[in-house]
């Protein structure tokens, strides 16, 4: 035991020396060490999902984060904009992957890309998304990415800091793009190269995508004020992004301003409104006071702009406004408004300053000069899409899932639907027949026989005719044409819609409820959307995200008018195929009718 003691003594001396130098460390509260350990563990856990993005041809780059095991990753639009449709991505495992642009949200500065696995079926590490509505000023946050493109082995840089504010609004940067709405403000260091990288909470959940800072006199480096796009906003656009769309943001078609500067408490009042806007058609008027919008109270201009930024164009969101009636009593009303677009100048929406139309993303059609990326075969250019290849992918998946409820392609002949119900609160039966005949190879004749409440008429949807004829019967917005489109979708599918047949991302849908007074948020069902166009008539089809059951559709005959809304429910099998037996038809603010289907008759093939 002698020798060991000397050794121990020496060791003891060293330990004492070490202890002397590190003495204060031992006084640290064990809880601090625990928190530090937890933080280190979180960083280790999420690190593999952080992406370093390089534009092909060395034109800069940025960061990103993987959000699924099949290689989908989020980043900023301004990171991929100079890169074109394909890029290179490095992961912290040190491996460089090819990647392709999938979807874009230019106004929101978001892009979805997809990394290609080295071997088919290889899984990627990915980050779990959190709920950014739960983030509060004073929370801690971790930003990861590749600032100044420091890491040549793609190991991300971690910065740690405070959430300085939430629900921040930052004006667009140039040409109406890169508008940061409802974003998270952080004092966590954000520098060039961090763009597109993830912001995590201390549980390692993805709460935002870092992309911007308030820079003033220090140049474009950390100024203590950085902004991350909230992940909840991105979730609203996720369906659009995955469907390869070049998604647009929303406007209301009305200008909302705070009532006079000196008044106490800011009332948000409609100061101008477009008559073509859906908000106007739903009843919003000059001078009305906005109470809430999409469920959020409206007390200042930022609140309003934040809500608009959260949703893609075309979404319907509830809006509550207040107006004084003749008796000078204040009345509250809730309406559901379809949001207009921002980018593709819709009838000169007043909320957007006039300016040149934003150009499409950097020359997608041009062939890259360097050897073509293997990712290029996953890219297909088409106007209105970031990458049409992914739209086809999503559309076909949706269609296949929908057909599982019943394949009607073998029944592509005459159909008759008979139903009982009521129209405008009076009992009425309905009979609808599609008859088709073919002259030779080319000319297809379609005749619709429509009878409701004892009044019948015939329509030939393929013939050029007055729009008012197509919109019959009055108050329905064009029910026979809507049912004809439904028949087209079921029996013919994509070939029946020569104008458009594409995936339209995700949208909320509001099926009628027994209690129509119930607020819209309780009726909301999130759906996948299919967009169609046939003989200039457009349609939007709403499939439940859960099982791709068709919950309803809208057929718009006249752009200046509301669509015919058809709500489908009470699905029952007919010859082994599921068909709705409850059909409700709405147009504008009113219900046209509701019908219970007695029979579906399929004629000759």
């Amino acid at each position: 035991m002698r020798t060991p003691r000397i050794l121990l003594l020496t060791a003891g001396l060293l330990a004492a020396l070490a202890a002397h130098r590190l003495a204060p460390a031992q006084e640290l509260d064990p809880r601090i060490l625990e928190v530090e350990q937890k933080r280190i563990a979180v960083v280790e856990k999420v690190k593999p999902a952080v992406v370093a993005i390089f534009a092909r041809g060395g034109q800069g780059g940025g960061s990103g984060v993987l959000i699924s095991d099949d290689g989908y990753a989020l980043t900023n639009f301004h990171v991929v904009a100079p890169a074109g449709p394909t890029m290179k991505c490095g992961l912290p495992d040190g491996v460089m992957y090819d990647a392709v642009l999938v979807g874009l949200d230019k106004v929101g500065d978001v892009a979805l890309i997809k990394l290609l696995p080295k071997k088919e079926g290889d899984k990627f590490p990915f980050a779990r998304m959190g709920d950014s509505d739960k983030v509060k000023a004073g929370d801690w946050s971790l930003a990861m990415g590749n600032p100044f493109l420091l890491a040549t082995d793609f190991t991300p840089t971690v910065t740690f800091g405070l959430v300085s504010g939430t629900n921040r609004y930052q004006y667009p940067e140039g040409r109406g793009l890169l508008e940061y709405t409802d974003c998270i403000q952080i004092d966590t260091s954000i520098n060039p190269g961090n763009s597109g990288g993830p912001l995590f909470n201390l549980d390692g959940e993805l709460i935002g995508i870092n992309g911007r800072g308030s820079f003033d006199k220090r140049g474009r480096v950390n100024s203590g004020v950085g902004y991350a796009i909230s992940i909840n906003q991105i979730k609203n656009f996720m369906g659009h992004l995955r469907a390869g769309l070049d998604a647009d943001h929303a406007s209301l078609g009305a200008r909302i301003e705070e009532r006079s500067e000196d008044e106490m408490g800011g009332a948000m009042v409609v100061t101008s409104i477009l008559e073509e806007s859906d908000a106007y058609r739903r009843g919003l008027r000059l001078g009305d006071e906005l109470v809430s919008f999409a469920g959020r109270p409206m007390a200042n201009a930022n609140h309003f702009k934040n809500v608009l930024g959260l949703y893609p164009k075309g979404w319907r969101v509830p809006l509550v406004f207040r107006r004084e009636n003749e008796n000078r009593e204040s009345e509250k009303r809730e309406i559901l408004v379809r949001l207009m677009g921002v980018q593709r100048q819709e009838l000169g929406a007043p909320t957007q300053p006039p300016g040149p139309r934003p150009r499409p993303p950097a020359k997608p059609a041009e062939k890259p000069k360097e050897p073509e990326s293997p990712a290029a075969k996953l890219y297909e250019a088409k106007a209105g899409f970031a990458n049409y290849y992914f739209n086809k992918l999503e559309r076909d998946r949706l269609l296949a899932a929908f057909r599982k409820h019943g394949d009607f392609t073998p029944l592509a002949g005459d159909w008759t639907i008979e139903a009982d119900g009521e129209v405008k609160k009076e009992r009425a039966s309905l009979q609808f027949t599609v008859k088709q005949s073919q002259d030779g190879d080319k000319d297809r004749h379609i005749v619709l026989d429509f009878k409701v409440g004892g009044v019948g008429f015939q329509l030939e949807p393929l013939r050029r005719q007055n729009i008012d004829v197509l919109r019959q019967p009055r108050g329905s917005g064009g029910l026979p044409i809507a049912l004809y489109h439904y028949w087209q979708l079921l029996t013919i599918g994509p070939k029946g819609f020569e104008g458009d047949f594409s995936h339209g991302g995700h949208e909320p849908f509001y099926p009628p409820a027994a209690d129509m007074q119930a607020d819209f948020s309780k009726r909301r069902v999130d759906c996948e959307v299919l967009r169609t166009e046939h003989v200039g008539v457009t349609g939007k089809w709403y499939f439940s995200l859960k099982d791709q059951m068709l919950l309803g559709f809208e057929i718009q005959i006249d752009r200046e008018d509301d669509p015919c809304e058809v709500y489908l429910s009470d699905y029952k099998p007919v010859d082994g195929r599921m068909l709705p037996h409850q059909i409700e038809v709405r147009h504008g603010n009113d219900r046209y009718g509701v019908f219970t289907v007695k029979s579906y008759t399929f004629g000759n093939k």
Partner: protein, 381 residues
């Protein structure tokens, strides 16, 4: 911040002797607090925000923000902020944390403390910081974790909560207020923090501990014009300033100003004791063509004090009395105002060497007529 000189009271110096220990304990306390729950920090952030006000006044042109931040210091609507051009308006607007809007009136300004007091009318029971009580705590030690609250960049409007940043007190002491380096009227101790609080509109915001206890007011945007770096500092609640009042030298404090409010009598700044023309040296410098032209000697008048001291053309004057002079402007500010008889120790670079030179100013040569008012007096700000 290495150039920061910490000349503080002896009590503080004593405390600093035990720094390493205290420092770490403070650190660990803060970390432990952070560890316990973000929830508590979130609560602190909410509470502090309820006692802050957004200010809107004059400005808006390059480099001068038309917005700022203030701290509510009484339930009946007194608001403390930093004295700035922003307040120089008949239409000062104040937005409280609950979104209510008021017109504010500046009731006291004390440039020597660099603070101003604003009053809004028609309010009661506002959440507020009790400055007098808060100032009874000793100044926070370097190493203390802090939060900086302000409406920098005017990010928040109406009832939206302001920006909160976290940092650590890097130093407590005086800024090196040399000419041409930092130009602020307040010469007392400041907190220097590592949070980037030096942004437009942050001045007048609150510096608090991580528990939300008020430590001071975030200072102005301050540039070290020698290094082109910005310093993040805050004026402590213990701020004091010296000056003249009723022809007597006095020391006033921020606490005094808060206690006396409208009754507080601002100081008359100490006037330079000598107001005549500067002493004669006989140095002719190169033409002052750019903002920071280095003080190169172009020529020396024969027989002048400079000639006798041995200054030569092409000498570069680097230091005057140990103070670095980076530009002709700074050199003139120091030397041209000094009365005859003043002796300066110059360090000049000649070739590769620094040479020490003693320069004694003489009575000015006969310049007629000497108008007393010829150089317009700068207003004391």
């Amino acid at each position: 911040m290495s150039s920061l000189r910490c000349r503080s009271h002896s009590r503080l110096t004593m405390m600093r002797r035990r720094l390493s220990y205290l420092f770490l304990v403070t650190c660990s306390l803060f970390l432990a607090a952070a560890a316990r729950a973000d929830q508590s920090l979130e609560k602190v952030v909410r509470e502090v925000n309820s006692k802050l006000a957004k200010l809107y006044g004059s400005g808006g042109y390059k480099g001068l923000a038309a917005y700022g931040t203030g701290i509510v210091i009484s339930p009946d609507g007194y608001i403390l902020t930093v004295a700035s051009q922003m307040l120089d308006t008949p239409d000062l607007r104040v937005h409280l944390a609950d979104g209510r809007r008021f017109h504010g009136k500046v009731v006291v300004t004390e440039p020597n403390l660099d603070v101003a007091l604003i009053k809004i009318d028609g309010v009661a029971n506002l959440p507020y910081f009790d400055i007098i009580q808060a100032a009874q705590r000793p100044p926070a030690e370097p190493g203390t974790g802090v939060l900086a609250f302000s409406n920098q960049f005017n990010i928040a409007v109406r009832d939206e909560p302001m920006t909160v940043q976290r940092g650590v007190i890097a130093a407590y002491g005086k800024l090196p207020l040399r000419r041409g380096v930092f130009e602020v009227p307040y010469k007392g101790d400041v907190y220097v923090i590592d949070a980037i609080s030096n942004n437009p509109g942050a001045a007048g915001g609150a510096l608090t501990t991580r528990k939300g206890e008020l430590l001071g007011l975030i200072g102005k945007e301050l540039l070290n014009s020698l290094t082109d770096t910005w310093v993040n500092y805050a004026i402590p609640l213990h701020a004091q300033a010296e000056g003249m009042r009723d022809d007597k030298p006095v020391t006033v404090s921020l606490v005094e100003l808060v206690e006396q409010k409208e009754k507080f009598k601002p100081l008359v700044a100490k006037r330079p004791s000598y107001e005549g023309p500067g002493g004669y040296h006989g140095i002719i410098l190169v033409p002052n063509v750019v903002e920071r032209t280095p003080p190169y000697v172009e020529d020396v008048i024969p027989g002048s004090p400079a000639a006798r001291a041995g200054l030569k053309p092409d000498d570069l004057i680097v230091y005057v009395n140990g103070e670095q002079v980076g530009s002709i402007k700074v050199f003139r500010e120091i030397v041209d105002r000094a009365p005859p008889g003043t002796t300066f120790k110059l360090e000049v670079r000649r070739g590769d060497k620094l040479t020490g030179i003693e320069l004694k100013l003489e009575e000015p040569m006969v310049r007629t007529p000497v108008k007393k008012s010829s150089p317009p007096d700068k207003p004391d700000k």
